[in-house]
């Protein structure tokens, strides 16, 4: 209850999930379009050049938005462009042609998953790679954006198991390995020092605490920098609160009126 309260106080950046639409790119278009009339733009794309060739339906859906977007609603994180879909767009006369993101597989503001097929199934790793390259490109070459060519791709299109297989599992293997090594040697050490065997150690409060610390340590401290980072994180989270409470710290005995 309190969690949702905290989540729902005035803010503009509440998280959510785009309509779950994992392996079907076509479906993603619909939910987005239906959101249009009510939702402020959150992704806008386009290249200046593509203004003329903007996909008609997307444009009308976009213009239909009657609402002023709330100032904190992000419009374009990275402006992307629908490169191929419109063919090579006619260059706008007055604007300098900035090189846009172009890729044969980037169609209409999203990745065409059919082009990522490998032995009959979508090669999600390749999709992830392609998306990373696109974002990197945009980071280095920010583009002018418009609502006419919206970006429709987002990371939730790639199914969860593809992420898990590629990124979680190797890391999990690493961490489990570390935990096992630390655990084994700690158990051996405690046994040699105190004579308490493994089974008896599990029943002892101090040993259980050590176990907890070891697991937490393995999880939280994965690189050397993490120790410093965690401390800074803790400071940061309490800093703002300290600033608010500062005015109340002034209470000293006998303060004058």
């Amino acid at each position: 209850m309190s969690i949702s309260m905290a989540l729902l106080s005035p803010s503009t950046h509440l998280p959510s999930l785009s309509p779950s639409s994992y392996p079907k790119p076509l479906l993603t278009l619909k939910p987005y379009l239906s959101l249009r009339p009510k939702s402020p733009l959150f992704t806008t794309k386009a290249s200046a050049e593509n203004g003329a060739g903007a996909p008609g339906s997307a444009a009308t859906a976009v213009e239909a938005e009657p609402k002023v977007r709330e100032p904190a609603e992000p419009v374009a994180v990275k402006s992307g462009s629908s490169g191929e879909a419109n063919g090579s767009a006619g260059p706008a006369a007055e604007v300098e042609v900035v090189s846009l993101f172009e890729d044969a597989r980037w169609v209409n503001g999203t990745w065409d998953l059919k082009q990522f097929e490998k032995s009959g199934k979508t090669d999600w790793d390749a999709v992830i790679d392609a998306e990373a390259r696109r974002r990197k490109w945009l980071q280095d070459n920010p583009e002018s954006s418009s609502n006419d060519n919206p970006i429709l791709f987002d990371t939730s299109i790639v199914p969860w198991w593809a992420w898990v297989k590629r990124y979680h599992l190797p890391e999990a293997e690493l961490l489990n390995g570390r935990a096992a090594m630390v655990g084994f040697f700690s158990a051996y050490l405690v046994d040699s020092l105190t004579g308490v065997g493994l089974v008896d150690q599990m029943g002892n409060f101090f040993c259980k605490t050590l176990l907890f610390v070891a697991v937490a340590g393995v999880l939280l401290i994965r690189k050397n920098e993490d120790v410093e980072n965690l401390r800074k994180l803790l400071d940061e989270t309490t800093f703002y609160d300290k600033q608010w409470q500062a005015t109340w710290q002034d209470e000293t005995p006998g303060n004058p009126k």
Partner: protein
């Protein structure tokens, strides 16, 4: 008559011992209504320095409550560089008429010009009985004994004047002179820089019902850039805390990003202003209280300050009315802290804290910003966000959807961070 005097004696009998009670305890039990001495022959005098939304609201509350109020403003016709967006609840709570608003889609944010809003609020305060003084306050003299008045030194029409008052409210903005006088401490500021650009009619049409916000390292490393429509032009700007010296670079970047939509426009004004990032270390000292930007009441993440300025002004004014019982009694620092600061903190600290958390999480890196954009695609999120923002109240949610929202936030952040890490290893 006799009983009245008896009551008065009784009252003062009670008052005296309580007055001398040691102040080392923070909890104080008062048996009488108030231990403050009544003022004889006049009402409580208050000076409000600064007549923006905060000052005007405070002056209005004070004047309406019976306190003699002086409202100081150094440039009544000035236009504060500002986004100019106010939430719906402000329209209701402060009775802002629709004719002041430039863009008013009937549900969401209202955008108006600051000079229009400020002069409306100021005039209303005046009509309630506040005395408007157009002059520049140069210094505030702190009294050496309790109950002695504060003296406000100001220049008006090239002549120096002084005014003695009992209570001072500092509403003079981010570079508050009042705050300096009471040694309230300083705060970190962001700088907001914007250019007002007049567009051709067809380009203005695009912004008929649209305000835009841009995020990315190119336009701001820790804030956002915006294109906000005004009556007949757009304000294109950006802000930052940590890289103030690069603000011009960021401004060029936002111009580039919005190029297609604003090209061919003429820059009619360039303005910049500091935005406080957090409250000052001391917001009340003696019989001086700070409100609005002077106190640092600007939310993180959205940088919203107008509503909180006006609200804090009103709450402070009402606190003084209550503590002084309609201007009849003198007040002290504890009254201000109890009636104003405590109420304010209790009401809004969660809001401010939450927005600070969001800023830290979502504005920190490009990967996080990507996650933010992804998350804002969901309609439930948008609805909750808007309703909470507009009415400054927890919107009615559905627990299941909330849980989904949290889950998806974490998911999006994780995925985008993974992509971010991958991006770092790439060289295109």
């Amino acid at each position: 008559m006799a009983s009245a005097t008896q009551a008065a004696i009784f009252g003062s009998l009670f008052a005296a011992p309580l007055h001398t009670k040691p102040r080392s305890v923070t909890i104080r039990i008062r048996a009488s209504k108030s231990s403050n001495p009544p003022i004889v022959g006049r009402k409580l005098r208050a000076a409000v320095i600064g007549a923006g939304p905060a000052g005007s609201s405070a002056a209005e509350a004070l004047a309406a409550g019976g306190v003699e109020c002086f409202l100081f403003e150094r440039s009544p016709s000035g236009a504060k560089p500002c986004g100019g967006a106010i939430p719906l609840c402000m329209l209701d709570e402060f009775d802002i008429p629709a004719r002041l608003i430039d863009r008013h889609p009937n549900e969401f944010i209202a955008m108006l010009r600051r000079e229009v809003l400020d002069s409306f609020l100021r005039d209303r305060a005046q009509s309630r009985g506040a005395s408007l003084i157009s002059g520049l306050v140069t210094s505030l003299e702190i009294p050496t004994s309790s109950h002695a008045p504060y003296v406000v030194h100001y220049t008006k029409d090239n002549a120096r004047h002084a005014l003695a008052v009992d209570v001072v409210i500092g509403a003079d903005g981010a570079n508050s002179r009042v705050a300096k006088s009471i040694k309230a401490g300083s705060y970190a500021c962001a700088i907001a820089f914007q250019e007002r650009i007049k567009l051709t009619d067809d380009k203005m049409e695009y912004y008929e019902d649209l305000a835009e916000m841009y995020v990315g390292n190119d336009v701001s490393p820790d804030f956002y850039a915006w294109v906000f429509p005004k009556c007949d032009h757009v304000a294109v700007g950006t802000g930052t805390v940590c890289s103030k010296q690069d603000i011009k670079v960021f401004q060029r970047a936002i111009r580039a990003r919005a190029n297609a939509k604003i090209s061919g426009g003429k820059v009619i004004k360039v303005e910049a202003h500091p935005i406080p990032e957090h409250p000052r270390p001391t917001r009340v000292r003696g019989r001086v209280a700070l409100i609005g930007d002077a106190a640092g009441y600007v939310t993180k993440c959205s940088g919203e300050g107008i509503y909180f300025a006006a609200k804090s002004g009103r709450m402070c004014g009402e606190a003084i009315i209550k503590a002084s019982e309609g201007g009849e009694r003198m007040i002290d620092e504890d009254d201000l802290k109890r009636e104003y600061l405590k109420e304010w903190d209790a009401k809004y600290i969660t809001t401010f804290r939450f927005l600070d958390l969001l800023q830290k999480v979502f504005y920190g890196s490009d990967a996080a910003r990507e996650a933010l954009v992804e998350l804002c695609g969901d309609e439930y999120v948008q609805r909750m966000t808007f309703e909470s923002y507009l009415y400054k109240k927890l919107a009615d949610g559905n627990r299941w959807e909330d849980a989904k929202m949290v889950f998806n936030t974490v998911g999006s952040l994780m995925r985008c961070n993974i992509l971010g890490k991958k991006m770092e290893g790439l060289k295109l």
